[in-house]
Amino acid sequence: MEHSLSITNMWISAGVLLAAYVLIFTEKLHRTTAAILGAVSMTGIGMVFGFYSQEEAIAVVDGNTLLLLVAMMMLVTMLRPTGGLEYLGIKLAKMAGGDPRRLLVYLCLVTSLFSMVLDNVTTVLIFAPLTVLITRILNINPAPFLIGEAMLSNIGGAATLVGDPPNIMIGSASGLDFMAFIVHMGPMVVPAWIVTIGLLLFLFRHQLAPGEALGTGDIDLNEERAIKDYPTLWRVTGALVLTVALFFVHHRLHLFPAYVAWIGVAVALLVSTKDPEKLLAGVEWSVLLFFAALFMIVGGVESSGLLDLIGQQLAAFAADPEQLLLSALMVMWAAAILSAIVDNIPFTITMLPIIAGLESQGAHVTPLWWALAIGVGLGGNVTHIGATANIICVAESERAQYPNSTITPMQWLRVGMPVMLNSLTVVSIIFVVFFEWFL
C-alpha cells in the first residue's frame, strides 16, 4: 500500500511510540495492556493519517518469532513437571561436597547450559527455589547464588538463537541461523561467562569461604524423589534433543527455527500423550501478546518512513567499512546501557527495522546484529530489573528467611555494574581483535 511520507506523520508515529513506551516502562499499566493500547492507537491513528493500515499491522507481527516462542514454551511446560532439572540440581549440589565456591560454579554452569536451550525465566524459576533450599540446608547465604544464577542464565541465553527472546527476534529479522549464533556468540559468551563467575567468586569471597557451610553429607535431599514422571521425562528429553539437533542443521534443511521447534512439539505430544489443553495453559500468552503489540507499534513508525530516515542518516556512517567497527561497538554499548534500565524487548524490536534498513542501503550489517544480541544479553545484568530472571531471584531471596539474604536494588547494582562493565569490556576487546570473524 502506498503511503504519503510526511514529516508530520513521522512525528505522529514517533509520538505514539514514545507514549506507549512511557506507559510500558513506567509500569503504570501492565506492560501487555500498555502495548496493546499502543498497537491499537498506532493502527487507528495511522489509518486516519494515511501512513499505516490494518493489513500492515497484521503483516508486521513476526510469526516466526512468536511461533518459535510458543513451541519452546510448550516443550518447557512438558519438561518442567517431570522433575528432571531438580534431580540434576541436587546431584550437582552433592558433588560440590559442601564447598560454597564449587556449589556456585556448578549451579551457575547448569543454569547457563539450560538457558541456552530453555528460556531463562523457566530455568531460574526451577533453580532459584532449589538453590535457596540447598543453601539453607548448608546454612549459607543464598544471595550470591541467586545473583549468580540470574546473571549467568542471562549470559547463557545470549549464546544461542533460542536462548533469549531478543536473539529469536534478531535471528528472524536477520536470517542468521542457529549455528551462526553459536559460532559467533559463543566466542563472546564463553569469556563473558568466565569473567562473570570470576568476579562473583571475588566479590562474594567472604560469603563463599569454605567452612562457612556445614559438611558434605548434610544435604539431606533425595534426588530420586525429584523425578515424578520417568517415562515423560525421557520422552520429552528425547523430543528436546531432537529439536536441538535439528536446530544445528535447520539452515541446511531450509527449515525455519519455528518449524523445527514445532517438529519437537509434535513428537513430544505424540510420545508423551499429554493433554494439549494443559500445555496451552503453560504458554505465556501475555508475553506473546506483548511482543505482537510491540511489532505493530514499531511497524507503524516504520510505515511512516521515520525508521528509513534514521537509517539513511546512519547509513553513510555504517556503510564506511572503517566506521563499521565503531558503529557495532556503539550499538553494543547503547544496547547494554538501555537494557540495564528498561525492558530490552522494546529496544530490540525498534532496532530490528533500523539495522535491516541499513542493509538495504548497502551497509554490511552482520556485525551490528551480533553487537545488538550481546549488548542486550549482557546489559540485563546491571540492575535487578534488567531481566525477568533477576526479578525472580530477588523475590526468592526475600522468601529465603536467612539473615541478610534479601537482595536490595543497591546490592544488585554493586555486583551487576562491575559484572556488566568487565564482561562487556572483554567482549568489546574480542570484537575488536577478531572483528573479521564477525563480518
Partner: protein, 151 residues
Amino acid sequence: MKLVDVIKPTGIGRPGMLVKDVFRLCVEADVPGIPFVDERQQIIGKLSIRHVLKQTCIPDFMVKHAHLLGDSLHHLDISKELLASVLACPADDFVLPNSPQATSNTPFSKALAIMEEQDTTYLFVLDQGIYKGTISIMGIAHAMLEENRAV
C-alpha cells in the same frame, strides 16, 4: 441429618488478640479456625491455624520441595524462639478476608459444595447475621455415622 446438629460453638477473634489466644480458642473448640470480627462486631474474615503456620513456620522453598526433604534437617525445624515469637504476634496480621459461611437451614450438600469451592474443611454458621458456630467436615462425618447407626 440437620446442619444445626453439627454446629460447634466457638470463640471469636477480635482486634488486639494475640496468635496464642486464637490458637487456644481453636484448640478448646476443636476447630481449625474461627471468625474474626471488627469493632462493630461484624465478621470481616477468619483466623486459620493453617494460614498462621504457613505464613510463619514453613518457608516457600520447603513447601515447593517437601517431597525431597530428608528427616535430618533439624536446623530448618521450628525453633523455640520462632515458636514464641509466632504465638506473641498480633492475630490481626493473619486475618483472611474470605470467610465461607452457611446458615442453620443450609442443606449438607450445599455446605459441602461451598467447602469444595472454597478449598476449606469448615464453615461459619450465621443466622440473620448472628454467629452460631462452626461446622467442619469431621462434624459432618460424625453426623453421617450417627444417622447410619439410627437407620
